[in-house]
Symmetry: D2
Subunit: 363 residues, 4 copies
């Protein structure tokens, strides 16, 4: 029930506000024996860092995560892994002028309604900075999955109206193409067009939405649980907990609506002692449990709520006001790009949890 | 972690297979003092019953739920509410010929991979019959919400390529229009077109997908939790746990991707001491917590997997086979229609849970 | 959080009131492949049934449990196991005269304070009848443990001032001695003395307390979890959730208080490739995790609260009153005896849960 | 399920090893609006610090906890409260000579059996140092309870064979007497005798057990939950999760076993519009729910496992060995004393959780 925790067996809890002293994450339930270092965590964090490309927020976070517990002589011990990420470069003074205004598209109003108090500096707890903890936990989950030969990947599928063509199907190729793109988009042509769009939005002080697609390969059949802990339900739960996400699809997703059943049902075939399907509209999951085919899904992200244009709003005391972000504010014209490694982390975490829990399925 | 339970404070657990002796649900954490009767439960179940319209499965379930505990002198007592629904009309013999075949689009393969054993009769545990328990729990959740003046509704927004126009915005009107339609679609013209499509699919032994839209009105601001128990995350978790669901959206959903932030951010205004927004692309939720505006979202359902057309598959021992449902099998050409009251129930359950949990938000 | 559920992976939920239509239990998370029948459940229930010996309550419950789901062709399928036990012989009329009186030692006052409503008939939800569900779940847990060669047993260690001498240490002998005694006491001499005491209490309309000792043998080292899910913490949680339990001990228990550390620390020795300890004051657990030595603990049960003597009390409206159970009321002079199979069931459940969860301890 | 978390609504997670870089705690679910400072936390930690009296371990921990999140402008915000306590004075080198020996009464053997790896330095995760996080969480829980006028207290009831006489019944007096004693024992005469015993044990390199009694006053009737989340079950779960605890009692506890029911049942009386009982053998709880009378219970702690005497053991490779703590090792002759503020913290946490959860009991 704790609203700051995620997972069943492989479970983590994040804490911290954007402009507080630090943020952190505790991973509880991580199996013993996984080799992990501070460097592994920081490499993962670097991918989501602003400044990796010119179109994400210029804040120089230079996160330096430190593993404070749960790892001994380079390996996890089964005890909780506490990771600390100090906050730096947090100038809260610029938030003073707008602290009594409801920020359109942001959560300061709703937190105030719920709790009666809100640390407004930098978005406080509702800041996307919280996702650093997810990425750290995801780095460990990925190590576990790698040990079991499971691969996960996320990439930009769409920005605004521009949709990428995903030509590759092999993990290695797709991975290289994705990380070669400053936008994490494995389609170079689309990357160019998207870049122009983002440049334009940035100039106009506006923002764009995007779709992140995720994939998991070499997942054995039989993972996941029926009914309420369906793998796709847990993936949706994970993705809809991300800041700015507005939609989730698995496999054919909303596209399935206009398909006839005779086309949508993936036919089963035998393939060298393995059962496969000739198509994969299911997205690798049937009845909440994996089929052994690739897991594929998508997450929709709204255009970044922080824009430089003035916006109509009211103050916390109900007076009309014009909301204007201070000059020099961080401004990330397309939040979907930074979401890519976070989506990847959450997929890894959901799968790691399912992998462990599945060990209890039989006598 | 239990995969057959849902909810935090207002929590329920379902059990039972399609062709077992009975199915049931236990609601644990329901507050004391709610007036509820067997008739209330059965009225809710009747809405999802096949046979309500000619386009849903002809099985005459005639469910008769009985409250066996947790209600005394007509009111809930705070103790667990056990509800039993006996199974009838379950002729399992017709499943014999196909019991060793993997059913395309179904879960018998994945259950077998996970557990090594599967009660294949009528789809066993993976049957949509499980959702009766959700509807029963939802009927009680709705009573609690009504007590707090919160209204929930779901309806058909789209079937195959036909999209309904939702003209009404008042709950009462929308409710009446929805329940006047045999398809739960508040647009009479669309209902007619959809009916023709369904009729055609039925004749062809094929099936259609659909979109169910849900709505919650008069929800106070401040409900829901930040980070991992975001209200939209819990709604997504609920909806993606439904059989045949392939996608979930809140507010603008996937449509937000092509909008600029300057348009998508809902401007705040003061409205007679209340804070409102002039648009509601957020779908009534910011940062996981309600704004007080209507909660609106959508769920995509794939075309029914059970079709009368022959399909390619393999047997459990890996031989190629042609899968053919026996003549006279139940066949529901559009599962989205029956999903309407189930979506409504899950929305009610998620909100009831959030309503209760929110009482712990302040000292 | 659900207050009517117990367990993590091997989890069950009970429902039902003493004089309602039925009671039941749902076991969720039971692994697939366990052979179980109605007869197995009913054999376990028979042991806790009143009427097994002349000193327990004369109500002829003649429980007939029926497995309604989760078992197919004689084996568990991994889906939830729903078990129903209809209530019979429930004459509620005799409770009418005392329904507005606070029952000393009972929970009707506290339930009323909490919920504002109480099904007083036969003690309602607070009746020990709820424990039938635990015994049913325990019967399945025991099957799982047996598959892994783990043995559990409980027996009467003390009634009032009479303490039994436990001479045997082999499971089989102890088991036979226990079940040969109408009081579940493996010491025949003590059984005789205890019987006389109980007879006297019964004649006087009074009641006696007792201590139940439990034991688990052949438990592998390494089960259980550190810190908050320590095996002894889960055992204590289980035992203190039993009606009438007032205390819990593991190993040396309260007796450890007067021992010096140099005596209490169990010395480790090597025994044919196994590590053992020469004494077992730890009770088979160190730091929450099993050592491989026998798990031993004890539970204190207060004297039955239902006595035939008149007692001082007040009514629900605050007036002084004399409380008198109606002539012919059920009256169980020593609740500890009936608690024996329930304690045994709870030990089995806690161990089954730990056994499964332990599969996630390593990469 | 996470084994390093405790609580339902008011939930916390601890992390960290004795000789790692730091330990910490995250409190998730703490209501907004509670005034709390670093100083409050550190004052609570000081009470459990070694060095408060000459009979606890001489390690100069000088803990300096820092609140890193969840508090804004001096008040809790409803977001998770991250607290960090750096480790100092941790010389691990002295553990080198004994790192491959099973420590009698300790958990290094069981952790190794479970995880295959163990951070042996200073007892690693199994060190009582973990309890600092509990005390920090308890300090916040107490603030919440104080706001609702609930008082909690723990004190030494017995050390070895010496039992204290608890003469006072008023909270203030008892509190003063307790904190005036270097042993947290409100009986000055007993304190003197116990001191002599401890002095002797220390000289002999041996250790003593003890009983801590706890009390909660002004608790409203109706808190707690029936069946599995009974308040006494949660208290037992909390207490048996403490290092070195071997037993738990509520109210009359094991003493109830030799009482007749006619004496044990607490008679209800009316007292100026309040319902009370003339005795309190129940310990303030009936059926898992509070009666409004004082909650009273006891926890048994075994004699400290770390003693200076040589002990028989085996190495991790199975050879016989003599275990001898290095000269100058920390040595706490009676762990029960340091447990007093920890027991108090756990009582506060269990009650805070019950207080919040109780808000969901009625419609």
């Amino acid at each position: 029930m704790a609203s700051n925790s995620f997972g069943n067996v492989f479970k983590f809890t994040t804490w911290g506000e954007s402009h507080g002293k630090a943020i952190g994450v505790v991973i509880d339930g991580c199996p013993a024996g996984i080799a992990i270092t501070d460097a592994d965590i920081n490499a993962a964090l670097a991918l989501r860092a602003p400044g990796r490309n010119p179109y994400t927020s210029p804040r120089t976070e230079s996160d330096k995560a430190e593993i404070l517990s749960g790892v001994f002589e380079g390996k996890t011990t089964g005890t909780p892994i506490g990771i600390l990420i100090p906050n730096r470069d947090a100038d809260s003074s610029k938030y003073e002028p707008i602290k009594s205004m409801l920020r359109p598209g942001h959560a300061n109003y709703t937190y105030l309604e719920k709790y009666g108090i809100f640390d407004y500096r930098g978005g406080g707890r509702s800041s996307a900075r919280e996702t650093a903890g997810r990425v750290a936990a995801g780095a460990i989950a990925k190590k576990l999955l790698e040990h079991h030969s499971i691969q996960v990947l996320a990439y930009i599928k769409q920005i605004s109206t521009i949709e990428a063509t995903i030509a590759a199907s092999r993990f290695d190729t797709l991975h290289t193409l994705t990380y070669d793109s400053p936008l994490f988009c494995p389609d170079a042509d689309a990357t160019a067009t998207m870049t122009a769009l983002i440049e334009k939005a940035k100039t106009e002080g506006d923002s764009l939405g995007g779709v992140v697609e995720f994939m998991a390969l070499s997942v054995p059949a039989g993972l996941g649980d029926p009914i309420y802990q369906k793998l796709e339900a847990n993936l949706a739960f994970a993705m809809m907990s991300l800041p700015a996400s507005k939609g989730f699809e698995i496999g054919s997703g909303f596209g399935s609506v206009t398909m006839p059943g005779s086309e949508h049902n993936d036919p089963f075939i035998s393939d060298s002692d393995d059962v496969k399907t000739t198509t994969n509209y299911a997205g690798g999951i049937l009845g909440g449990i994996t089929t052994g085919m690739p897991i594929v899904g998508r997450v929709a992200f709204k255009p970044t709520s922080s824009i430089m244009k003035p916006q109509q709003t009211v103050t916390t005391t109900g007076e009309s006001a014009s909301f204007q972000l201070p000059v020099g504010s961080r401004h990330d014209p397309c939040v979907a790009i930074r979401a890519v490694p976070i989506v990847e982390a959450m997929v890894a975490i959901v799968l790691a949890d399912a992998l462990l829990l599945n060990r209890c399925a039989r006598q």
